[in-house]
């Protein structure tokens, strides 16, 4: 089992090196860093000096190696647009994104799994049909529209909740949190719902589909035939088997959450990394773009690792093939 996790870690490291190369290519080849730093009017001598200073006269492999070294030490370059080291920017923006995505994921799981189970077990009921219809609508309404409509209703018309920003935040060391103040929580509500809606609809339908498959499988039929109580059939034997594929897709959904957080943060002017990334793309702020790329890659590698480990925990078949006898 430990060997399995180690293999995955190594694979993840390989992926990171490749993405790192990509980020490096973006950060050096896109736009001329010398131009960016010195402006158009610098002399050739100044340019040459700058090139040497930046190590741009070195072979590619050496440059890449130095780049990786800088990245590992947290030196991600300086934002063209804001003139602030990217590392500081990310540290400043990270808490907002993590809290938003975390809350959205929580909403997705807390609502999606039970609703999926309900619609699978009470297949024909009116409430199930309503939930399924609503989920299809949830998959069809774009995230930005959901956000705008919520803003219009709750912030503009009713004026119950703020339409943008994080509200008051409290600093705990380098971390800023909006979870401890009333205004922070109120500010979080609409963006979190907006971000959760799509993945909630998706997860709900997925849980339902997988559970229905399992409930029609041979081993559940045999469990029924043995006279096991309905609760044990649905949850112990049904849900546990259905959760295996759900875990994979739910984790992949985290990737989508990352993508849609760009949208949500834009709609609500939420000071997180998604908004930072969008602005970086629009201003061609290369250091920020390449850093975001690296960070997204780390997130995906971690997500995949979590999926693999959860399989090891959940599925005895994988456990014995990876861990040996």
């Amino acid at each position: 089992m430990i060997a399995g996790v180690l293999t995955r870690l190594l694979q993840g490291l390989g992926v990171m090196l490749v993405v790192g190369l990509l980020a490096f290519a973006v950060s050096t080849k896109l736009g001329d860093p010398v131009n960016n730093m010195l402006g158009q009017n610098a002399t050739i001598e100044e340019r040459e000096a700058m090139r040497r200073e930046l190590g741009l006269d070195q072979p590619f492999a050496v440059q890449y190696g130095r780049y990786l070294g800088r990245v590992v030490r947290g030196q991600l370059g300086v934002s063209y647009r804001l003139g602030v080291p990217v590392g500081e920017l990310l540290v400043e923006r990270l808490p907002a994104s993590v809290e938003l995505s975390g809350m959205a994921m929580l909403l997705t799981l807390v609502l999606g799994v039970p609703l999926g189970i309900y619609t699978a077990i009470r297949r024909g009921s009116l409430l199930s049909k309503i939930i399924l219809g609503a989920s299809l609508a949830g998959l069809s309404v774009p995230t930005f529209l959901t956000g705008l409509l919520l803003i219009f209703l709750f912030a503009v018309q009713l004026q119950w909740l703020p339409s943008s920003g994080r509200g008051e935040v409290v600093s705990i060391g380098p971390w800023t949190t909006g979870l401890l103040t009333a205004s922070g929580l109120r500010s979080l509500l609409l963006p979190a719902i907006t971000l959760a809606l799509f993945s909630l609809a998706l997860l709900l339908r997925l849980v339902r589909g997988e559970l229905l498959d399992v409930l029609h499988s041979d081993h559940v039929r045999f469990a029924r035939a043995r006279g096991l109580p309905e609760r044990s059939i649905n949850f112990r034997h049904g849900l546990r088997n259905a959760l295996l594929p759900v875990v994979t897709v739910a984790a992949l959904q985290l990737g989508n959450l990352l993508a849609f957080s760009v949208v949500t943060e834009t709609v609500f002017q939420w000071p997180g990394m998604g908004l930072l990334f969008l602005q970086a793309v629009q201003f061609v702020d290369v250091p920020v773009i390449s850093s975001y790329l690296l960070l997204a890659a780390v997130a995906f590698v971690l997500i995949n690792l979590v999926v693999d480990v959860s399989y090891l925990v959940l599925d005895p078949r994988v456990r014995s093939t990876v861990g040996g006898r």
Binding site: L30, L139, P142, F144, L148, F152, L252, Q282, V284
Partner: protein, 300 residues
């Protein structure tokens, strides 16, 4: 025609209604030039005197602007129709491109097997984890930095189509691969190989009819996603140039006026978009259920 009838057989009534709605959207979008009350493509038709009018049924509304106007005096209904045309065009083009890439990769993967198969399927796995929106944003960022502004604007739409297609080819490839593997077991491929004819050319003719059902379903579901992705990118102001506004661009422009109560600029293009995607999704869902034998089985 037989395919159409085969797909419709055993589907629910809701599915057929949804297909009709999609067809109506297609007609409206294709005929935008003739249906739209105002030629909004032509900027000279706009009059700032007519800006930000509410819908016609409002006390301040005017009859010739049924769904109101935006801040430039553009008729919202006409704008939505032309936006629809662009959104659907991009959606269809992206799905068609994804289908081409996917079919080619799937056929190759299934026919050649071996390391090529393993390699292509590995890429497919990786592709699934990377969301289309991020891919498109990165591509757009790259395009912005290396291309002059004017070139970038003309390339905006192709870049968006390419990015969406890149995110969607995988299911097509999987279906084509499975279909190819099934067909390969049959004798005629070997026969073709003996006759030194390129097997894949025959394969294409045999695999396609067999996987056409799943492909149509994948394409339908993919179309909904493609339209959503394009709208989202346009809303973010990435890719599609603002000079040719899609539904997402219209919502983006209108959202600035939402706090002042001008809801119609956002709501109507938004509803048009959501209605289209909903109809496509319902149709895709229904077609899939109709194809899936598991859903039809009677005995548990």
């Amino acid at each position: 025609m037989r395919l159409v009838r085969g797909l419709l057989e055993g589907t629910r009534r809701g599915t057929r209604v949804a297909l009709l709605v999609v067809a109506a959207y297609v007609v409206l979008a294709a005929g935008a030039r003739w249906v739209a009350p105002q030629p909004v493509q032509d900027l000279r038709s706009l009059d700032l005197m007519n800006s930000s009018l509410p819908p016609a049924w409002d006390a301040d509304g005017r009859r010739e602007f049924l769904l109101g106007t935006d801040e430039q005096g553009r008729d919202v209904l006409s704008g939505a129709l032309f936006g629809l045309r662009l959104s659907m065009g991009v959606g269809f083009a992206a799905v068609a491109l994804a289908m081409l890439i996917g079919l080619a990769a799937g056929l190759l993967s299934g026919y050649r097997g071996g390391w090529l198969d393993a390699f292509l399927m590995r890429i497919a796995d990786a592709q699934l984890t990377f969301p289309a929106i991020l891919v498109a944003m990165l591509l757009d960022g790259v395009a912005r930095s290396v291309l002059p502004r004017s070139v970038h604007e003309t390339l905006g739409i192709p870049v968006v189509i390419g990015a969406i297609a890149l995110a969607q080819w995988v299911p097509f490839a999987r279906a084509a691969r499975v279909g190819t593997l099934v067909e390969r077991e049959k004798g005629y491929v070997q026969a073709a190989q003996v006759m030194a004819r390129p097997g894949w050319s025959i394969l294409l003719g045999h695999v396609l009819p067999n996987v056409l059902g799943p492909i149509v379903v994948i394409a339908t579901i993919g179309l909904g996603n493609a339209i959503l992705t394009e709208a989202t990118l346009s809303f973010l102001g990435v890719g599609i140039p603002p000079t040719s506004p899609s539904l997402g661009t219209l919502v983006r422009n209108g959202s600035a006026y939402l706090p002042s109560g001008a809801w119609w600029m956002v709501v109507f293009p938004g509803l048009a978009l959501a209605g289209l995607v909903l109809a496509v999704n319902v149709a895709g869902d229904g077609l899939r259920d109709g194809l899936d034998p598991k859903q039809r089985s009677a005995v548990s």
